[in-house]
């Protein structure tokens, strides 16, 4: 996957950190201090479809040629997460009990084109 830079236009992972203190949640969430709500953004023209995902091979080269040749008639693919991991939270419930839980698939580690 690719991390977005200042002038990225192609599909990439945009980092976005939510500081719990900034949103006033630091009193009930003990750990962690924030949430990496990264997201995927950017263009996925046809010749990028399926990247990453296909191994760099002769088939990839041929497939790309076919896509490029029919670019005029084709529809773009989407920029989506390709790797995610859980968000582990330690927080107080309203009875001041402490709950430790892992919420699956909450943090995007990398993006790619469908």
């Amino acid at each position: 996957g690719v991390d977005c830079g200042a002038d990225s236009r192609m599909c990439c992972r945009q980092e976005f950190f939510v500081d719990f203190k900034e949103i006033g949640w630091e009193d009930w969430i003990i750990q962690p201090e924030g949430y990496h709500m990264n997201f995927c953004a950017g263009l996925c023209p046809l010749h990028m479809a399926g990247i990453p995902g296909l191994a760099a091979s002769f088939h990839t080269a041929v497939l790309n040629r076919i896509k490029a040749a029919s670019a005029a008639a084709a529809v773009d693919s989407c920029c989506v997460p390709t790797q995610r991991r859980p968000l582990s939270l330690l927080y107080y419930d309203r009875d001041s009990n402490i709950v430790k839980t892992d919420i699956p698939d909450m943090i995007v580690d990398s993006c790619g084109c469908t």
Binding site: L87, I98, V99, M106
Partner: protein, 216 residues
Amino acid sequence: AAKGEWCPACGVATLAPGAQRDALLALAKQSILAKLRLPGRPSVPQPPARAALLTALRRVREQRSDGGSVPSSPLTLLLLPSAGSSTSRSVHLHFRFSQEVAGSTEIQQATLYLFWAAPGRGAQPVTVRFLQPDPAGPNVTVASETRLEVPGAGWTTLDVGAAVRSLFRQDTPRLTVELEVPEDWGSPLPSDHGDAHWPFVVAQARARTPHRLHRR
């Protein structure tokens, strides 16, 4: 999309940076609360004392690291009680749960941790009673009673899974535990509520999955 353009996927005009950040922060709040099945952020009336919390967290980590009989579960509850009425040799511990927690979780295992500072001369009997409100009146009834033989000063554990599971089936999920110790021990509880030897319960649980009908 770059500034001034449209999003190629949804056609929405590009937001101003401040508006985009506000929208993302709102989305983060919404997604975390939804995943935790909370209607809103909890207000925390009285967070437990730090020393007691750290002791309980250390136990959870030890439980997880030595694996053993503890089933791996996605949800761990740490329950620190408040002290209720007491005599020279007994005390009531009150554990409270919210209806949301009781209604949305299935308890797999629960362990009560008790610390005894009494000077031990050989094993001494301690009685642990689980009390529940008497539906017929203001009194309480003894749901179950266990006698522990405490060999000396230190931590002991007691399996309270059955008591907590039955509690979660009640309308008002409150659990009262009575500790009764020999006469010459003094109070069964540390004098300071924030003491690192405050009793607690560690419960391993999983989210209760709603009953789903599968159409074949």
